[in-house]
Amino acid sequence: MKRNGVFFWVGAAVFLIAIALMTKLITNEYPFFAGYVILQFIVLAVAWSILGGHAGYVNFGTSAFFGMGVYTAVFLFKVAGAPLLVQIAAAAAVGALMGFALGLLTLRMQGIFFSIATIALTIVIETSITNWRYVGGAAGIQLQRPPVTWPFSGYVQMLFFVQAVLVVLAVVVSRYIQNSWIGRGLQALRDDELAAECTGVPTLRLKVLACVVSGALMCAAGAPAAMYLQYADPSSAFNLNYSVSTLAMSLIGGTAHWAGPIVGAILLGTTQQLLTVTISSEVNVLVLGVMLVLFVVAAPEGLIGLLRRVRDKRREGKQ
């Protein structure tokens, strides 16, 4: 294994151990409530950048996948009282299928047309759920959490840990894609799809694959939200805010490297949580807007891109 790889796996293990220790040592529940939201956005941003970053297909349908994850969990819980892990696994499967269908139907469209189609997807699914009375319909549905599973002391702590495992899973997948033939193929088609196709890159197959993986991860990230909120309603579950925030996080962090969305999600997610409990008014929406504009102007390739540029300049200076 290369040195980089060792560092990565050690880092992932240390992260999970730290999260597990946190759930044991911290008695105050607030860090878990706030941390859960940040972790959830990391998974969403990493998943988004698999299609949006590597392949350059801008997906506005994050909220469709997220909401579908929420409602898969709600449905399974209502039908059979399914445990959390089953809810997440089923949501991932549903997300993969949805990604596959979306890919087949829309990936022949390019650029802005694909993006518009993904917005339509959100509306179609939200309307369907709104009219499905079994899962609460427009009125929403309240859920009672089952007892917490050993070794966790509280349900929120458990959800926090589960979401952290999803973060690691998403990052491992995204890193693998970037470093493998899939990532190279996706990058080729992002730069010039026609040229890639001519040189033998199976573009449609790769795009569908990216859609499937990205969709599965987004849906999986949404599944625990049902138990986190103990309530689900279509307008909150399919809130466009998930799409916009995820996109902003990936762009601010940088889409050229798997670490970009993580940096973006931590930065923006933490800022959002802090602003909610500090400034807490219209101003926090403004602050986020200004941040996005600043990053687009000053660092079009995101924070990772900015760091790379600074590092390259230093090297040039040394030479």
């Binding site: 706030a34 427009a138 009125a139 929403g140 909150s236 809130n239 008014s281 926090n284």
Partner: protein, 418 residues
């Protein structure tokens, strides 16, 4: 002045000053009573949320001017929940675990409140509800008290359909937005209609983003209902009334309205003007003589002044007095119990009738009002583009309940519109 007198005076002054200083320091050292809540300050519910918050703030200032509670100042800690359900669990966990608030008030509306119910139940906290609808029916928290006058779930629809039946209505048309609150209203309306033996001749839900209602209204008109029960949100309420104005609703209709949200807000009412005439709609407070209680007038004088600075609904009839009433109820409970013990406060709130600016409030076992305080009122003689007209009585005549009645129903709807 002699030196000794001067010295004596100085010493006395110093001792007095010191004593006073110490007492006031001791008073200041008493930590404030913290009341925590989230409120929709941005997003779709912000208009209502801000007005409601101003009502609570007016109470806070009044209670502090009276010397606070238990000798302590009252402080509000408010965060913006962006009108979303996904924000409130983290905010309330911060309020409980970091800010260590003494009392919790719920956010405005049902959706942001729903995820909190299991949390407060688990933590054994009292929660003063703020205009949510049947949010405790499944959770069954015995320390929940809703400030909204909804009362039993079906009282809303039954008040309207009862009026319709008295006016000779036998058939009913339902038109409801595909959203949480409207669908809850439509559901109870169906049940009440069946109970009253009325025939539902038209039952249509429409997507919340609908702006053009002429197609739906034509179909409704063709069904020739006697009563039209509409459960809508502010943008669609305006769209529906505009549609009715353009294509009419038919001579059969005796009663139109019921559950249209938006027709309680100053800006929407000013905007719709004469289109409102004839509509019978629910409300929570109106400037009719029967609705004034002790402190109501003084509250609205303060609110009207402060609403201009705060840029919120200049009328503020719908939510603001109920925000103030939440404060009054908690004030009475704390004074009677003499502590902040949640169980004792809840017991007091459950077992007593509370005097507020919106009238006496008694709670049922589920934390909703024992008896509904929702009024049905008919708009009369409304002119275009005039906010001030809504401040005088007679513009919204109370038809239900009987004890607050300030006029009789004008039917049919087409005649009342003119």
């Amino acid at each position: 002045m002699e030196r000794r007198t001067l010295l004596g005076g100085t010493i006395t002054a110093a001792v007095l000053g010191l004593t006073f200083g110490l007492t006031s320091a001791a008073f200041a050292q008493q930590p404030p009573i913290k009341i925590g809540m989230s409120m929709a300050q941005t997003g779709g519910l912000a208009g209502g949320g801000k007005a409601s918050q101003l009502g609570i703030e007016v109470w806070r200032d009044d209670v502090n001017a009276r010397g606070g509670l238990l000798g302590r100042k009252v402080e509000l800690i408010v965060y913006d929940d962006k009108s979303s359900a996904s924000e409130t669990p983290a905010i309330y966990s911060k309020l409980l675990d970091v800010d260590k608030v003494d009392i919790l008030f719920a956010p405005y509306a049902t959706v942001p409140t729903a995820p909190l119910m299991p949390l407060v139940k688990q933590r054994g906290m009292l929660l003063m509800g703020n205009f949510s609808f049947q949010v405790n029916s499944k959770v069954g928290h015995d320390m929940w008290f809703n400030n909204a006058p909804w009362g039993p779930a079906d009282s809303w629809a039954s008040s309207f359909l009862d009026l319709g039946q008295k006016a000779g209505g036998k058939t009913i048309a339902l038109l409801a937005a595909d959203q949480e609150f409207a669908q809850n209203l439509a559901k109870t309306a169906r049940e009440v209609a069946t109970k009253l033996g009325m025939k539902i001749v038209f039952d249509q839900a429409y997507p919340p983003s609908t702006v053009e209602f002429s197609g739906i209204l034509r179909a409704l008109k063709a069904a020739k209902p006697d009563i039209v029960y509409v459960a809508s949100y502010p943008p669609d309420s305006a769209g529906i009334l505009r549609g009715v104005n353009e294509i009419g609703i038919g001579d059969n209709v005796k009663l139109f309205g019921g559950g249209m949200v938006g027709l309680q807000f100053g800006a929407v009412m000013e905007n719709l003007g004469s289109l409102l005439n004839g509509v019978v709609n629910y409300n929570t407070w109106l400037p009719e003589p029967s609705m004034y209680h002790e402190g109501t007038k003084a509250f609205f004088e303060t609110y009207t002044k402060r609403a201009v600075e705060a840029k919120v609904d200049p009328l503020g009839y719908y939510l603001a007095p109920y925000g103030y009433a939440s404060g009054q109820m908690i004030e009475q409970a704390i004074k009677a119990v003499g502590s902040l013990d949640q169980k004792a406060l809840a017991k007091y709130l459950r077992e007593n009738t509370h005097k507020t600016i919106v009238g006496p409030i008694t709670f049922a076992a589920d934390g909703e009002w024992k008896e509904s305080g929702v009024v049905q009122a008919q708009f009369r003689g409304i002119a275009d583009k005039n906010m001030e007209q809504f401040r005088s009585s007679g513009k919204q005549v109370v038809l239900f309940p009987d004890k607050m009645k300030s006029g009789t129903l004008v039917t049919p709807f087409e005649a009342a519109r003119k």
